[in-house]
Assembly symmetry: C2
């Protein structure tokens, strides 16, 4: 259950100054949520879906894994603060929380030029 209100608290590029331990623990949880191919695809599927949200029924088709496994991965993404969800009648909808992605994106911003 990581919030996303603390986005400002941590997130200039990590290449500028060392992360403190607490921030590292926090961020590692988010990256761990991204460290599975199924979850990455789920996230991009949700984000690129019409209207910016998708119901679970839209998400089970493209994968070879069982529906409970999809549900498990969605839970991981939700608990990492990367997506939100809501039940509307029969279906449950998921959407991406842009602030969370932006936070990670900013963190990874590389130093200017260089290629090495």
């Amino acid at each position: 259950m990581l919030g996303q209100d603390d986005a400002a608290a941590c997130c200039s590029p990590m290449v500028r100054e060392p992360l403190d331990e607490e921030a590292a623990v926090d961020l590692a949880k988010m990256f761990k949520a991204l460290s599975d191919p199924v979850r990455l695809r789920l996230l991009s599927l949700i984000a690129s879906h019409k209207g910016g949200e998708a119901c679970v029924c839209d998400l089970t088709g493209p994968f070879d894994v069982s529906q409970p496994t999809i549900s498990h991965h969605l839970k991981v993404l939700r608990e990492a603060g990367l997506v939100g969800s809501e039940r509307r009648g029969t279906w449950v909808y998921y959407w991406v929380l842009p602030a969370a992605l932006a936070k990670l994106s900013a963190l990874l911003q590389a130093p200017a030029g260089e290629s090495r």
Copy 2:
């Protein structure tokens, strides 16, 4: 052993169109390398070190884990294509590969405005 030359192959924001499975597998490996607090701190420690590189001897001090464990984490970062390394005399130096970070950063770029 992930290259970083293929940076162009995958990396407009993942929120625009669904990732294909191959790209997802590839990217998940990089995020997995970032999914540990020690490795995140190592990476930022290396990147923010004077001259953009650090020898292992600079990296073992700030952590509570043993030296072999640090070595293991550095290997994970290297095999994920996030850092490079080289032996110079007695010491081994590590530096960040900016293209890899940039690739991930671009991938996570959130859609414009919105806050939800």
